[in-house]
């Protein structure tokens, strides 16, 4: 069973883990992932991001087919892991040992 549009079958291995509909889910997944896992995901998806965004742009945002919604969620996860990968070199924001900032509402999709 595939989750993503066929054009993005190459990203399918990452879909079960990273197609996450909510920010708390994506943030928790980032914190519980190793840097290797996130590098691997980032390296795979980042070169495909422009094509993915162009693909999604063809649809009405509020009537996305399921596979497109999954792809959008995958892009959200790409943004989420870009901070550990591009800025921090670690899953958690440095020097934020005791801080949290919980997202309780976000637009859908």
């Amino acid at each position: 069973m595939t989750m993503l549009p066929t054009e993005f079958a190459d990203l399918e291995p990452f879909a079960p883990k990273w197609c996450l509909p909510s920010e708390p889910g994506r943030y928790a997944m980032r914190l519980s992932s190793s840097m290797d896992e996130m590098y691997e995901f980032y390296e795979a998806i980042h070169p495909r991001a422009a094509a993915a965004i162009s693909h999604l742009e063809r649809f009405d945002l509020y009537g996305l087919p399921e596979d497109a919604t999954n792809l959008l969620h995958l892009l959200y996860s790409m943004i989420m892991v870009s901070f550990p990968v591009e800025a921090w070199g670690q899953p958690r924001v440095p020097d934020t040992g005791s801080a949290s900032f919980d997202c309780f509402t976000e637009p859908a999709p």
Binding site: E23, H46, A49, A50, I53, L56, E57, F59, L61, L64, A68, L72, L75, Y76, M78, I79, M80, S82, F83, E86, A87, W88, V93, P94, D95, T96, G97, S98, A99, S100, F101, D102, C103, F104, T105, E106, P107, P109
Partner: protein
Amino acid sequence: MARFPKPPEGSWTEHYPALGTGPVSYEDSTSPEFYERERRAIFKRTWLNVGRVEELPRSGSYFTKEIAAANASVVVVRGKDGEVRAFHNICRHRGNKLVWNDYPLEETRGTCRQFQCKYHGWRYDLEGALNFVQQESEFFDLDKDAYGLLPVHCDVWAGFIFVNFAPEAEQPLTEFLGPMVTDLEGYPFDEMTARFGYRTNIAANWKLFMDAFQEFYHAPVLHAKQSPQKYSAMAQQAGFEAPHYRIEGPHRLVSTSGVRFWEMDSELVKPMEITTRSGLFGPWDEVDLGEMPKGVNPAHCDPWGLDSFQVFPNFVILLWSQGWYLTYHYWPTSHHTHVFEGNVYFLPATNARERIAQEMAAVTFKEFALQDANTLEATQMGIESGYVDRFLLNDQEVLCRHLHKEVADWIAAYESVPEVPRP
């Protein structure tokens, strides 16, 4: 060496001579006794923003708000007549908390036709009137009209819902807000309904966290790693200067100049910013919000970055030049803890590309807020130790100076009134 002109007095701080230029004490942020005075003089006495009208989309929509600093829980509801009202969240029968879900000490929201107490089933309509008493005939001379929910003063400006716990509000809401804030009227807050909401408990005094977001002196240092090394180095070298500060009554404003990331060398921005065309300052592609009211970018900075309006006591509206805005709320829960809420608002995205740019801006916002929050707990510990009790503030921190002075002034004004019975 100033990059932007300063007022004729030579500095922003001296432009407001009541502020002085000497070192300040943060005892107001460590003393339990001072916190009690703040509660009485400020949080039980002034207008407090509790949300926006879009959170109450139809009649029967409600939310509750726990305001520990005013020792209050309120339920805010849109009545059958479309009016927004606020009530103390207490059943008149045995004093039970009326509206809650799962946990009585946590906030809740929803839509209902009436409020029903879980304890004995008393019911109140959306306008607060008591309309059902279980086994009414068992009571003695019960006048239902006299047992409606206790109202809290409530008013709405530009879609922002404010409450006031004073027996009589000393000023109407718009008079309290003053022209610097009310000149924002006309900004399309009502259209910007795509919202990311965040909340956290912070182990620091509420004023200290406000301070962190009302000066940008810290930004090049604390947030250096957020940007590529080359950009950070340049930013740190340059330091930070805001082109404009303004103080009006108890409220404050800082404007900053803009950064045109999209015109920069790609070594100066992160790959994900290029991919999503978005980042800390928001989506790079301009959205059309129509003509801006005169309160926006009042000093006509060009390029303009943002305006941060600090609405006394604990509410911030931050407008970005890229067509989105933030609100912050700082809700004290003790002298050294508070609940911080941050909301990020955009026009609803019209396609996936816009939505992804918003996601990037919201995620970046959280990364920054986490750094600030953690630093603050370290600040609280440092000043609570009490070994150092005088601290310097530079001209870029003029708004911090004003907040602490304003708080002290409100307490002094309140306590100078001869002792009369107070609630």
